[in-house]
Amino acid sequence: MSQTPLGLVRAAPAAPYTFTFDGRILTALPGQTLAAALWAAGIMSWRTTRGGGAPRGVFCGIGVCHDCLATVNGRPNQRACLVAVQPGDVVTVQEGTGHDATR
């Protein structure tokens, strides 16, 4: 958590908690979005496109573009820039539509 705006706004968040990303244990602050938590951990990509398999992460960051989709607790197509991390969330890289495995 080397770069956060917490100091700028004199925030005093409650204690961080953990979640997993493809099995790695990461931490998030209460209310932090998944995209922010992944970025803070240095992770820039968590989806591959359904056509060419190209990596994707945050593009617009405000819930419009649907580029930052991730699979959270087994549910695909969650916008990482909008979803707040919950303690114990299991986040996985989303491949393609995210529904392919459930066909």
Partner: protein, 410 residues
């Protein structure tokens, strides 16, 4: 600015204007296409790209649709592959939830078959084979192999590009501010903020705004907007939904004159992955306000047909305005009240499907050739016998803004 001499100015760069330009240039005519916005910026861009015969009763519109079905198949093969219009001859599946609906659907389909439509009854067992995710317990349905789909914005762009390669002038972001007429009242071109374009013919392909262009030309065409919402899901694996699937009550909605909100979900997959769920119908003028009630109904009906969709996210929605005329038929052909003015608008929710046949009809009128189908039912002056105020009696149905004052004409 002097432009080369033109045979026709086509106003509107939606799919109908693009199809008019395509067939006119193929016939050797020199045309300009002018639009105040971008390609497919109006109703074309808000459609699903339905090429349907299944929802049409026997009559002139079905005849136009059957011709267009053949033409789209030709176009899909003739347009360059880099202009892929996502033509999918996927077929339609019309569902009857109960025996009463099935009996009505049988009678409807029998009439269609007599008029040249291919339709085949399928029982519950075969329904499950054709659409594995479909809900169980339906009485039956009909399969319409001629129903197809294109991506409408790509289709309009591809037709325009082909027309341009044959010399068509395409001027976007340029609003027609006046229809120019000569001393005897005949059309001689249009004026835009960039100058004048001169031609002995002007084609009104302005869709839902067709009444306005008619007013600019000093005549009247009662085109009114009928709003529709489409719901778009997250991308799903290909093959989940294979046909255009809808319940039989959609047909009644299409033909209805009611102003109230109507919805009957038409569900279909797309090559890109999202499933499209359309469409509502309501007469609220040009109001773009999001209607959660409309979306709730669409979602409810779609999940009733495909229970699997209940777990799927809807990621966005869009709305548009179908251009409808009081008798639900388009206005196609020369306007005897204003020599040189041609209309190609008012296709309601069927404009993508009917565009090629419309382009051929307009081209035949421009060249003086025999039309491919009878154009009489589509004659633009057919509403003249009604009182002048009749069609605009509902204040919510007025075209946006008052008609331009006669002083604006030249």
């Amino acid at each position: 600015m002097s432009a080369p001499s033109l045979d026709a100015v086509i106003v509107g760069a939606g799919v109908v204007g693009a199809a008019c330009a395509y067939y006119a240039t193929r016939a050797g005519l020199s045309v300009a296409v002018v639009d105040r916005g971008p390609v497919a910026g109006g109703t074309t861009g808000a459609g699903e790209g339905n090429l349907l015969v299944s929802d049409k009763e026997p009559g002139p519109e079905l005849e136009l649709a059957l011709l267009s079905t053949r033409l789209w198949r030709e176009l899909a093969a003739a347009l360059p592959p880099e202009d892929a219009v996502e033509y999918e001859p996927k077929g339609g599946l019309v569902l009857a939830p109960d025996e009463t609906a099935l009996t009505a659907l049988r009678a409807f389909a029998a009439g269609q078959c007599a008029a040249g439509v291919e339709a085949r009854e399928v029982d519950e067992h075969e329904l499950a084979h054709l659409e594995p995710e479909l809900t169980k317990g339906l009485a039956g349905g009909f399969h319409y192999p001629q129903d197809a789909q294109v991506q409408p914005a790509r289709a309009a762009a591809a037709l325009l590009r082909a027309a341009r390669s044959r010399g068509a002038l395409v001027r976007l972001g340029e609003e027609v501010t006046a229809v120019l007429t000569g001393p005897h009242g005949a059309v001689r071109g249009v004026r835009t903020p960039r100058g004048e374009l001169h031609a002995p013919a002007v084609v009104n392909a302005t869709g839902t705004w067709g009444g306005r262009l008619a007013a600019l030309a000093g005549t009247r065409l009662p085109v009114l907007p009928r709003r529709g919402f489409v719901l778009v899901t997250e991308p799903l694996p290909p093959g989940l939904i294979r046909h255009k699937v809808y319940a039989a009550d959609y047909i009644a909605d299409v033909a209805s004159d009611s102003a109230a909100l109507q919805s009957s979900a038409v569900v279909e997959g797309t090559p890109a992955g999202p499933v499209l769920i359309g469409a509502t119908r309501e007469r609220v003028g040009f109001d773009r306000t999001l209607s959660t009630e409309a979306l709730r109904r669409l979602a409810g009906q779609a999940t009733a047909l495909f229970p699997r969709l209940a777990d799927v996210h809807a990621i966005r929605t869009y709305c548009g305005f179908r251009p409808y005329l009081p008798d639900h038929l388009p206005a196609i052909g020369p306007d005897p009240r204003v020599p040189g003015l041609h209309h190609a608008c008012g296709h309601e929710g069927a404009g993508i499907g009917l565009a090629p046949a419309t382009g051929l009809l307009v081209t035949a009128a421009l060249t003086g050739d025999e039309p491919p189908v009878g154009a009489w039912p589509f004659r633009p002056e057919r509403f003249d016998s009604r009182g002048p105020a009749d069609d605009f009696s509902d204040p919510f149905d007025r075209p946006d803004g008052p008609p331009p004052s006669p002083g604006a004409r030249t």
